[in-house]
């Protein structure tokens, strides 16, 4: 075991998979010489050469398309979008080509591409560098969407994503990059589609993912002092989504709060609540609660930026509401 940051866990996953499979390559803006803005791919170009760590022009639409095509032709590209906000540019190649090709071709072609997208609010980078748009992709059959929040999960799930024969989008919260955690020294994988219980509890289930898992854990800790025992679930993967774990927890707690950092309107929080009602309305002792960001672009101003996203206090209030 060693303790590393989530940022380092990504680098390890990339390095290991590139060593194992010569079809794995990285492409994106500044991924080579600069090693990406967060230092994640630093050094990989020296190790693997300019044809396996490719510095692209600022042409997200086309270089993602090139990645999709290379995947159809049998490669395993890792395409990096500098900020998830800009995933709008290659949206067509992701939604209409990567997600649909296997189906449209009757299984003749796979698209084993991984798209990494740093997302989330924080750091005063305003509306075009802060978006939570992971929800959009959950609506697209053919894609998988993962949001690992710990170094252990990030490394193991990213490795699983690279080995997956279909397209996977990995959303990495920028605020999680410095999170530290234990990672085994040897080879391991974390499967896509299994949630993790971060804290067990008996009174209320809090369903969260990515950075909001940490906010939920902090809220649960505080509620514990008042004798309210919360179970915190980190979804880890949004598509597929592990409803079995969610429902098992609700069987025990009979209460649920769902938290996302995305603007609440039309977000996955509503979808999860809907599915919970379909699967187990009778298990609930209180109306399920949804929490998300305010329906607003993210502001530059520190105060306004902070107002946008759900806080520990908001989660505490939502949990308390399930006891009213």
């Amino acid at each position: 075991m060693s303790i590393i940051t989530l940022r380092e866990s990504i680098t390890q996953a990339l390095r290991e998979e590139m060593a194992l499979d010569e079809n794995v390559f990285i492409m994106g803006c500044d991924v080579g010489l600069r090693g990406n803005p967060f230092g994640i791919t630093k050094g990989l170009m020296n190790e693997y050469g300019e044809k396996r760590v490719i510095d692209t022009p600022i042409s997200e639409a086309a270089f993602t398309g090139l990645g999709v095509g290379a995947a159809i032709a049998g490669m395993r590209p890792l395409v990096e979008i500098l900020y998830a906000d800009w995933i709008t540019l290659p949206m067509d190649n992701i939604v209409n080509t990567a997600a649909k090709t296997c189906y449209m071709f009757g299984g003749q072609a796979n698209v084993p591409i991984v798209i990494r997208a740093p997302f989330g609010v924080g750091g005063g980078v305003a509306a075009q560098h802060s978006q939570n748009n992971e929800n959009w992709f959950v609506h697209v059959p053919g894609l998988k969407v993962i949001t690992p929040s710990t170094p252990y999960d990030m490394k193991g799930m990213l490795k699983s994503a690279i080995r997956d024969n279909g397209p996977v989008i990995c959303f990495e919260h920028k605020r999680n990059y410095s999170v530290k955690g234990e990672v085994p020294d040897g080879e391991y994988l974390v499967p896509i589609g299994k949630a993790a219980i971060r804290k067990t509890g008996t009174d209320c289930t809090i369903v969260a993912y990515s950075y909001m898992t940490y906010v939920a854990e902090a809220a649960a800790k505080e509620l514990e002092k008042d004798g309210i025992s919360c179970e915190v679930i980190d979804l880890r993967s949004l598509l597929p989504l592990d409803y079995d774990t969610v429902m098992e927890s609700i069987k025990k707690t009979s209460r649920v709060v769902v938290v996302t950092e995305a603007p609440l309107r039309g977000s996955i929080a509503g979808e999860i609540v809907g599915e919970i009602i379909d699967r187990g309305f009778d298990l609930l002792d209180a109306p399920p609660q949804r929490l998300g960001s305010k329906n607003s672009p993210v502001a530059y101003n520190e105060g306004l930026e902070a107002m946008c996203t759900p806080k520990k206090e908001d989660i505490i209030a939502a949990v308390r509401k399930t006891f009213e």
Partner: protein, 349 residues
């Protein structure tokens, strides 16, 4: 019979017009093969409209009729491992790459035995076993993925070549230009073929394009660029030959504009009410099958009887494909509804 007066008139308005000639290195046998392939394309597509009217085939199909020389001249020079990126007007591209018309017809019928197991239809027909990366329903969108297969060849250091087709409409999609830039920057083994039929769905390309000579766009990216007469199979063949050699030798991309004229509607049932179709009358005089046939007869490369036999043979193959699709193939089972959304048999509902 050739109408020389009509052709003289046509030359005045069709600036890409080039006289037919015998290029060096193209033997008679190969010319006969190319001629046969063009007939197969033509007969296949002529057969589809009545099938659509008879409700055997549905959805959209976009005919390649009169553009056959382009795919034939270029794709027949490729090896099996080479890749072809296609368009919504893709039947001809697949036939030229050596695709199976029975499986293509079965796909148009929506049958399980079709190329795409009935999931794709005319606009998505692909055959990965011969490097046919698929037709695409979104104009211009298939270019970047096709260049991705050239990226693979570049990374792997193979001599496989990719030919990617798009039209004058697709040329105006931003990612096409972005892809051309990357291909030029890294010297990717790709040939950009712009099938300029002068109509972007129902809009005359001259109304929406600043520079009518589309091949000049390649020059702007530092790509050797050429314009061909889209009805002249020999000129296209010779231009493509040099481009394929360049790509195979690692010398980078080439841009070939094949200028032609769309002589039918955008899709099978488009009656072209928005344009004056009499403009096309002169172009029928040089439609590629007639033109190549006349050239071969004039130059004693083939007799009229031989050519008629080739046409009849193509018709027979198409009739057999209809018979196969209509009587020997099956509807996809509802049990397979969720198949192929994910790989390896995984079902996520």
């Amino acid at each position: 019979m050739k109408d020389s007066k009509c052709i003289e008139e046509l030359k005045k308005e069709f600036d890409a017009y080039a006289e037919m000639y015998s290029p060096e290195g193209l033997d008679r046998e190969e010319q006969i093969r190319m001629y046969s392939i063009m007939w197969l394309m033509r007969k296949f597509e002529e057969a589809v409209k009545p099938l659509w009217m008879a409700n055997k085939v549905h959805g959209y199909y976009h005919p390649y009729i009169t553009e056959e020389a382009i795919a034939t001249a270029i794709i027949t020079q490729l090896k099996k491992e080479d890749y072809v990126g296609s368009t919504h007007r893709g039947h001809g591209h697949l036939i030229a790459k050596g695709g199976n018309i029975n499986k293509m017809m079965a796909e148009l019928f929506g049958k399980e035995e079709g190329y795409n197991k009935g999931r794709g239809g005319s606009m998505h027909i692909s055959d990965m076993s011969i490097g046919m990366l698929g037709a695409s329903g979104i104009v211009g969108a298939a270019v970047a993925p096709a260049v991705g297969s050239a990226l693979k060849s570049w990374i792997k250091g193979t001599d496989d070549v990719t030919v990617v087709f798009f039209g004058d409409g697709g040329a105006n999609a931003g990612s096409v230009s972005e892809s051309m830039n990357m291909a030029a920057a890294w010297k990717l083994p790709v040939i950009f073929v712009c099938e300029n039929n002068q109509w972007a769905i129902a809009t005359d390309y001259a109304r929406i394009t600043g520079e009518p000579d589309l091949y000049k766009r390649g020059t702007g990216f530092g790509i050797p660029s050429y314009r061909c007469d889209g009805y002249n199979i020999y000129q296209i063949w010779e231009t493509a030959k040099a481009a394929i050699e360049r790509a195979r030798a690692g010398e980078g991309p080439t841009f070939i504009e094949c200028k032609t004229m769309r002589m039918l509607g955008h899709h099978a049932t488009d009656d072209s009410w928005y344009r004056d179709m009499s403009v096309c009358d002169k172009y029928w005089e040089i439609e590629p099958i007639k033109r190549m046939g006349e050239f071969m007869v004039e130059n004693k490369l083939a007799t009229p009887e031989e050519l008629e036999a080739i046409e009849a043979e193509a018709m027979k193959k198409v009739e057999a494909s209809i018979e196969y699709a209509d009587t020997q193939c099956h509807e996809p089972s509802p049990d397979t509804f969720y198949d192929y959304i994910y790989t390896d048999g995984e079902v996520i509902k």
